[in-house]
């Protein structure tokens, strides 16, 4: 067991480094000459690597949540509320968080490992020697890509999970396609959709920043690359929950719902 004081100061140091990295991201972001080609590439990669998994998971979540909520609602005689209740839980919480966790797992670790191995094999130095700013080329593009793609993926997850909810409702009950969607949209308000969307933007940003930070400052050696990938996943997932907690507090305070 290590001295808790040392652990604590290591944690604080890490937070400080990560904040510095984030500040540098914004500084480099506003410098001229954006790397659009690499940015489009990265957006494509984020989507390509996670879309199937996000889709399947969202569908199952929608289906299972509906099936499991039915008995409780039936007990209170509120079966007709099923689409509305499911829609609110899926859109406000489940779809965004599941999407973010999948992206943290696949994209965060992928970026940690990729940039880590580029660091270790001096490819990042080689870019610098070639007159390309590696931070701008590698980091800014990747962070922007996750910031844009996680909300998009989350919207796709919303739609698919709601479709799962539709199937779940009709396993035992009988709600027509149009009635189901009418009830869904009727129950969702501005205060459900917008904070949820904003939250996913922060999720995406956090996943990109953490994955890139861990990879960019990877320790020498292949062991360092592995560690970059794993810690990227752990820290990014943790940040997703912390952001989730903060956003719910803020929306609550502003009384948006």
């Amino acid at each position: 067991m290590r001295n808790p004081l040392i652990l604590q100061s290591a944690f604080l140091q890490e937070v400080g480094e990560l904040s510095r990295f984030t500040a540098r991201f914004f500084r480099e972001l506003v410098k001229p000459k954006q790397e659009w080609e690499e940015f489009i590439n990265q957006c494509f990669w984020v989507g390509y690597k996670t879309l199937t998994l996000v889709g399947i998971t969202a569908f199952i979540m929608g289906l299972v949540l509906t099936i499991q909520s039915r008995p409780t609602l039936v007990e209170f005689g509120a079966e007709a509320m099923l689409p509305a209740m499911v829609a609110v839980s899926l859109v406000r919480e489940i779809a965004p968080v599941i999407t973010a966790l999948i992206c943290a797992g696949k994209i965060g670790s992928g970026m940690g490992a990729e940039l880590g191995s580029m660091r270790v094999t001096e490819q990042i130095d080689a870019m610098e020697v070639s007159g390309t700013n590696p931070f701008k080329y590698l980091i800014v593009t990747r962070v922007l890509a996750t910031t844009i793609m996680v909300p998009l993926l989350s919207s796709v997850a919303n739609a698919i999970s709601l479709y799962g909810g539709y199937l779940g409702t009709n396993l035992r009950g009988d709600v027509s396609w149009s009635l189901y969607w009418f009830q869904v949209f009727n129950s969702l308000s501005f205060g459900d959709v917008v904070p949820s969307l904003i939250k996913t933007i922060f999720f995406g940003f956090a996943i990109g920043i953490v994955g890139c930070y861990k990879g960019y400052y990877s320790q020498k050696g292949t062991e360092g690359v592995g560690r970059s990938a794993t810690t990227a996943v752990i820290v990014a997932s943790l940040l997703v929950f912390i952001i989730d907690l903060l956003v719910v507090q803020i929306t609550d305070l502003l009384d948006l719902t």
């Binding site: 191995s117 580029m118 080689a126 070639s130 007159g131």
Partner: protein
């Protein structure tokens, strides 16, 4: 050791990592067109020295002037422009392993050539650079598909594609068989003749050194310990120098 108009001038450079004092008051001057070899034990700071010269690593103190430019005075934009005139061959090759050989060679051009120039001339330049190292057929392969020696040659082609005035080679022949090693050394000599480039070469390979070096600098204890031609240093009586030539 002040010489007239050196193309690379290193003055009193110090560099340490924590308590590890790697370069201690290191100075040297390199003339235009020279093939200078830096010789030193593993871990003596040779790679650190040439990384300081291209400003991948910032020296703690001292002054480095390359192509008449004090490198500390350059801002980011000037630094990137200045780097077009300097080629760097990494000890580990540092090929981009997610890109094809063609894209690897295209990368240095993206910053230094305009879009029009790239569209018109890049393919020709890439092919020429690959032909120079005898690997034109690898154009569309990935680095992982090449052998170690081939990767070294591709890395060499990438370092030379912008026709730099100064070329820094970090152990260009280490880990290669003697024949390939000689080929690479010959290539370096040809390049130097063809473009009148200046080379700074880190090497332990006595064959390579004997072939290419106009002058050798011994990096011992973080200092410019001795310098001279191969013959002069080979005949030295100092045991620290002698050890390298046995």
């Amino acid at each position: 050791m002040q010489t007239k108009d050196p193309i690379v001038l290193v003055e009193h450079v110090n560099k340490s990592f924590g308590t590890n004092h790697v370069l201690r008051d290191f100075s040297m001057a390199v003339e235009t067109g020279e093939n200078l070899v830096i010789l030193g034990k593993s871990g003596s700071g040779k790679s650190v020295l040439i990384k300081c010269i291209i400003k991948l690593i910032a020296a703690d103190s001292g002054k480095i002037t390359v192509l008449g430019q004090d490198i500390d005075a350059l801002d980011e934009d000037q630094l990137n422009t200045w780097r077009a005139d300097i080629g760097f061959l990494f000890q580990s090759n540092a090929l981009y392993d997610s890109m094809t050989i063609r894209e690897n060679l295209l990368f240095p051009l993206r910053r230094h050539w305009t879009k029009e120039k790239r569209e018109k001339m890049a393919d020709q330049a890439i092919l020429e650079a690959l032909e120079d190292v005898g690997l034109a057929h690898t154009l569309h392969m990935m680095p992982a598909e090449l052998s170690g020696g081939m990767r070294k040659r591709v890395a060499l082609a990438r370092a030379l594609i912008l026709r730099p005035k100064v070329i820094l080679y970090d152990e260009p022949t280490t880990g290669l068989d003697p024949i390939t090693g000689r080929e690479i050394s010959q290539l370096m000599i040809d390049v130097q003749k063809k473009y009148n480039a200046t080379s700074i070469v880190i090497s332990h390979d006595l064959n390579c050194i004997n072939m290419i070096a106009n002058r050798i600098i011994m990096l011992i204890d973080g200092k410019n310990y001795a310098s001279g031609t191969f013959q002069e240093l080979e005949a030295a009586t100092d045991p620290k120098i002698k050890a390298f030539f046995e």
